[in-house]
């Protein structure tokens, strides 16, 4: 028997009992809808979390700094402590999955902008690495190699500045005060630094770019060429016991506690140590993996992706629970198909015997009933898919808007809480058809075994 004849005949048989077939298909539809929609909620949840994480910082960047020494630190951890110096940067750069490393110095200080005064958090970066580190200006430009006193400011830096004479917090924490960040563009900021000897030095900085709204963690910093920051660092450290001294060689004995700082080996003290370094990775997977490796190596390393891991774990649990609930209704639908097929075989006992006498082989009969069951599954799958898309749309319109507003303020765009990716569509159709086939297995085998003699005996 040819495949297309099989399909035509199976389809014909299916619609002899329209009501029953429709009800069975409906059962399958409900099963499919519950699986798809519940799955889509799990996927939507994960995607939404990812998007909200990405607003905070890049998933492809790890921030590495020297681990802190603390008194009473276990010896084996202390021995692992590493300096973040030139050599370390090139070591990290050579690790697989690393696209680039941008070492940075930070300096903080009071700055003036015309008649206003504010605290500046200055971060030095090699201008050529800004694009790699996913800096995006919303106005102006990023730094060039020739820039010396030009800087790029985060979107909320403007809110650090206050009119002279009025008291106020240096840095704004929480919702921004709402000044237009573009106000800062092309402005001069005058930063005054003081070193341990009490000497002062003035730097006049020119704002050539304002960062876009992405990566909230960068919004309060001002980015300057690394060479300028190195110079500032050297100035500040003149005459000072380097602040990082205790990082270099930790104090481990009681009697050293007072004199501990003097125990620093000269070579290490003079060595340049960066405040931190940004490591750009190839992908989120590498970010997670490299973060772990860097911590193993003795650095401090953190990234947005670290938090993603924990959240994803939670999401997976939610997905499994939702999927499980869907699976139950699918199981019920499967039993429905088996029931329908078994009933159909009871009704058609004589007919099956007749076609056996007329030359239908075992595989013809089995194929016929398997095809019928698979068709029920497929139809249920298609109908379920259509219903799922509608339901998903409704969920996104009503529940999504409410959740978006609840999480990110009234003007926030609606959250797509239910997401049906292509793979889920394909998977759902293949899955429902397979379920139909599995459900048809037992009835088809029964039909196959029926005795053809039944056709000849006239009861």
């Amino acid at each position: 028997m040819k495949a297309n004849d099989l399909l035509v005949l199976a389809n014909r048989n299916l619609w002899r009992r329209k009501g029953r077939t429709i009800l069975t298909v409906l059962g399958m539809t409900i099963g499919t809808v519950s699986v798809i929609v519940l799955f889509s909620l799990g996927i939507g949840l994960a995607e939404w979390q990812r998007v909200s994480m990405e607003q905070w910082g890049s998933l492809n960047i790890i921030t590495v700094s020297q681990a802190f020494f603390y008194p009473g630190m276990p010896e084996e951890e202390r021995d692992k402590l590493r300096l973040l110096n030139e050599q370390a940067v090139s070591e990290i750069e050579a690790m697989p999955g690393v696209l680039g490393v941008a070492p940075a110095f930070t300096v903080g200080g009071e700055a003036r902008k015309g008649r206003e005064r504010g605290y500046l958090q200055l971060i030095g970066i090699e201008p050529g690495k800004m694009a790699l580190m996913e800096f995006e200006p919303k106005a102006g430009r990023l730094l060039h190699d020739e820039d010396r006193y030009n800087v790029v400011a985060g979107a909320h830096v403007i809110n650090n500045f206050m009119q002279l004479g009025r008291p106020g917090p240096a840095a704004v924490i929480g919702p921004p005060a709402g000044r237009d960040s573009l106000e800062l563009l092309d402005q001069r900021l005058v930063l005054t630094l003081q070193n341990a000897r009490g000497q002062k030095r003035r730097y006049t900085l020119n704002v050539v770019g304002i960062l876009g709204p992405q990566f909230a963690e960068r919004a309060h910093s001002v980015y300057a060429p690394l060479s300028l920051l190195r110079e500032m660092h050297n100035f500040i450290n003149q005459g000072a016991q380097p602040a990082q001294v205790h990082l270099v060689e930790p104090v481990n004995r009681q009697r050293d506690q007072a004199a501990g700082l003097q125990r620093v080996r000269r070579r290490e003290r003079l060595e340049l140590q960066y405040s931190f370094a940004s490591v750009r990775t190839k992908s989120v997977e590498y970010t997670k993996q490299l973060g772990e490796e860097l911590r193993q190596m003795g650095y401090q390393a953190h990234s947005i992706a670290d938090q993603l891991e924990g959240i994803e774990q939670g999401t997976r649990t939610v997905q499994a629970v939702l999927g499980g609930i869907g699976a139950i209704s699918l199981l019920v639908a499967t039993i429905g198909i088996i029931n329908t097929m078994v009933m159909s075989i009871y009704e058609r006992t004589r007919e099956i015997a007749v076609i056996k006498v007329l030359g239908a082989s075992f595989s013809d009969i089995r194929g016929l009933f398997l095809t019928e069951a698979a068709l029920i599954g497929l139809l249920g799958g298609i109908l379920g898919l259509v219903c799922s898309f509608l339901l998903s749309l409704l969920i996104n319109i009503y529940a999504g808007a409410a959740i978006g507003a609840g999480a990110m303020g009234p003007e926030a765009p609606p959250v797509r809480i239910s997401v049906i990716p292509l793979w889920l569509t394909v998977f759902a159709l293949a899955f429902s058809t397979t379920i139909g086939l599995i459900a048809g297995l037992y009835p088809a085998t029964r039909a196959m075994r029926l005795d053809p003699v039944t056709a000849m005996r006239h009861y």
Partner: protein, 224 residues
Amino acid sequence: MAILALRDIVKKYRMGDSIVTALDHLSITVEDGEFVTVSGTSGCGKTTLLNIAAGLERPTKGEVRFRNVALNKLKEKDLVLFRRKFMGFVFQGYNLLPALTALENVALPLVFAGIARKERLARAMQALELVGLADRCRHKPMEMSGGQQQRVSIARALVNRPKIIFADEPTGNLDTRTSAEIVAHLKEAAKRDRQTVVLVTHDSNIAGIADRIIYMSDGRLVDE
């Protein structure tokens, strides 16, 4: 030459604790092209005989030779091939598929034989013409009389151009005149293509047109 030879066939059925002997050391030979009728009281084993001769059932003892092949030793898979190629069946209850039209019903054996749609519909149409029902080809079985349904089922038995046709009381549900007509159709077709017919009937009129009449009683031959 004998197309069918049953030798010393015994068929026993288990009915709960007791054993029923449906065929009791029965031997028959049917010649190629012969039109044979089988008569006998109800329950004497006629249907059982037909089933065993067609390879639908296996004898408890004895040998069935069809064109010199021992059917009782063949596997189910090969028996199906034999049925498709060499055998046609007419049942007492017509046994047409209610979902299919007359034409589709006639073409059904060719579907299982894997013959392409166009060819099998053409052949089915020819067979319907042979029984005088070409104009009813689009009708469903429910829309036809008993006699017409049985003519469709005869067309179905003829469609694969079998060597032998087994008919089990094909006129059992029909009036005398229709019965005579139907059997005439069958005989005419069979004679033209030199097909062998084994036909079970109670009706002595019908038995009358046979080349040979076999009488059975209690699973044995009583007379020829």
